[in-house]
Amino acid sequence: MSSAPDTHAGRMVRLLIVDDSNIVRRRIERSQHFDDLEVVGTAANGIEALELARRTDPDLVTMDLTMPQMDGIECITQLVRMKPEVRILVISALADKATAVEAMERGANGFLSKPFTDRQLNEAIAELMY
């Protein structure tokens, strides 16, 4: 998984990680195995995520849904409005189909249920990178 993506013309893909758990944020950062992926920021809620997205201009965002202050669904809505080309992978414990459908309707591009393996995480990221 180390070849440069054609879709990003050989440059690093910029990843923003959003989750209210430090452990999950570190886990995603540590477990992604892409040489052409650069973590540009981590946020613990939707408000922090939007602020960081303005400053760091991510190509890809992993997004938790259940978070304090601003939840993931609202954050997806505002993020897509701000940056329509961003790719969003929802990573959430909310495992029902209706939640996945709602997230997709708001603009998410993929959905991964917690708990997840490293392999599942990397496959889900790869689907949105390439």
Partner: protein, 148 residues
């Protein structure tokens, strides 16, 4: 009121969490009805449930178990804050996964976390609290499910 057959959702969720996140299965004991004071251990992560059902789901575990769980997750931070983060995340994951069976109207809160103090655990009228014993390696924890 929570039916005994509905407990399977939480037993399965707990089993899945340890298999996937800890990469080592836990043994789940027979659930039993909680009577009297809740059995609280060093750290407790509590999720409030609203919507179609009301109540709480909480995961309570000893520090030693959480330390090993963090090690299995390749974590190097074993601080008090990491322990609090982990119990909250376990409770959140198991409760969120329950929406597979309980549906979209099973609304879960962000976790409240307790450590070192006796938590005030709400008990809605008509709810029955079941304890699901969790044995993992040499440690024991509990998931308590109390729902209308």
């Amino acid at each position: 009121m929570l039916r005994e057959e509905e407990l399977k959702t939480f037993v399965d969720g707990t089993t899945r969490y340890f298999e996937v996140a800890a990469q080592q299965p836990a043994t789940i004991g027979s659930p039993y009805l909680l009577e009297g004071e809740p059995a609280i251990q060093d750290y407790t992560g509590l999720i409030s449930i609203s919507g179609k059902r009301e109540g709480v789901v909480y995961f309570t575990a000893p520090r030693a178990m959480l330390t090993v769980l963090l090690m299995k997750m390749q974590e190097s931070d074993f601080s008090h804050e990491s322990m609090r983060d982990l119990v909250g995340e376990v409770a959140n994951t198991i409760s969120g996964n329950a929406r597979r069976d309980f549906g979209h109207d099973f609304v879960i809160s962000v976790p409240s976390v307790f450590s070192g103090e006796k938590p005030q655990i709400p008990n809605p009228p008509g709810a029955r609290a079941f304890v699901i014993p969790i044995h993992w390696r040499s440690h024991s924890a509990k998931l308590v499910v109390s729902l209308t």
